[in-house]
Symmetry: C2
Subunit: 216 residues, 2 copies
Amino acid sequence: MRIKSAKNSDTASQIPEPTLRRLPGYLSFLKSLNANAIEYVSSGQIASNFKMDSTLVTKDLAYTGIKGRTKIGYNVESLIETIVRFLDFHKTEKAFLFGVGNLGKALLKYQGLRNYGLDIVAGFDNDSAVINSVHNGIKVYHTDEFRDLSRKIDVRLGIITTPDTKAQETADLMVAWGIKAIWNFTPQSIKVPDNIIVENTSVYSDLAVILNRLNN
Amino acid sequence: MRIKSAKNSDTASQIPEPTLRRLPGYLSFLKSLNANAIEYVSSGQIASNFKMDSTLVTKDLAYTGIKGRTKIGYNVESLIETIVRFLDFHKTEKAFLFGVGNLGKALLKYQGLRNYGLDIVAGFDNDSAVINSVHNGIKVYHTDEFRDLSRKIDVRLGIITTPDTKAQETADLMVAWGIKAIWNFTPQSIKVPDNIIVENTSVYSDLAVILNRLNN
DNA sequence: TTTAAGTTGTTAATAAAATAACAATTAATT
DNA sequence: AATTAATTGTTATTTTATTAACAACTTAAA
């Protein structure tokens, strides 16, 4: 049986995902340049930092709309601001997190995400050991309280850091409530309606690549 | 300036990275089938679970050397074993972890990685608040103790979960000691000799994709 | 003022990955 | 025993991403 890959309902999802994935790396590098009071940077310099082709950097940056100056390069500060705005890292996207285990707690405590536009507003779990605990100012509630929560709250993003076996039911719960996007940290593939955005983050894929490179 | 992308010194690094990245997902799915006492699975069934093309699954599985049976599919148990062995998840790769902050602690405590061939044997940090603490049986030492550590110890992999600004010096330290592969969880690009394997895991790239899909 | 060199930005070529097409096989059904 | 349908596995095509080539520009140097 063959299935067409799920296509974006959008008219045109212009920007290639590889570009989108590289931009935060550039941003980190640019910030370090800025911290060192460096005013201009060329695509070649960025490329050499990441051991990649400079044309690719130029093209990636072109997507953001920034203009460079011949023989000078790009203004570091305005490039930072352009990328931040392009990636919507300047806005604040609220999120719920389900499953306050080790990984869940780490994400709650992780200050870094705040600077990149993510604001986790509450945690949910079924384990009484963590319910009512507070991490980094974020309180953990019983999952039952989520069911009763007003759907008027403007949270569009849900994070799954539950045990693998709970991933699907957690996703179902979130979809029923009205969540628009799910960030799934379990290796389980979750089934959701076509209009729900799912992003899977699997540390096991990275591990597979490392072990393969180490052993071959 | 243009730079050729760093190429694997290997004669042929045969297996495509996208395939390698998909295999752990298949594995997770197969384990759930096995838990439900399902004996055989077709590439079409796997494909439909992940909303992908069945040909791609067939090709991915072909890389592992497994043979399927026409009209029947693949034997779930032997497919699991084949993928596990193919990915070297059956071996135990020892690792050091540098930077015992929130993310570092989470990785130390994360039991899941043990089942996928990763065994973190020690943590290192400069903060006296965490030195000598034990997480999941793994002790945290002062970074200075790493410098003095015998290079005879068979640890090939180092994990960086330090603050971004410490990433490069931590990498330098590890390379000097004799580490062969680095798993970098900071968004900073680290510079290492060509023979050192580097895998970057950036949660910000995933966030960028989610925010883009949500807002466009 | 002219020339040279570095850099952007665009267009063309190549490489890699995903999808489609299809041949071969074989279990199940008639 | 013959036929049908499901499925693997391979080859061809298309799409996507990367790399190469090059034209245009502009700053700095001669």
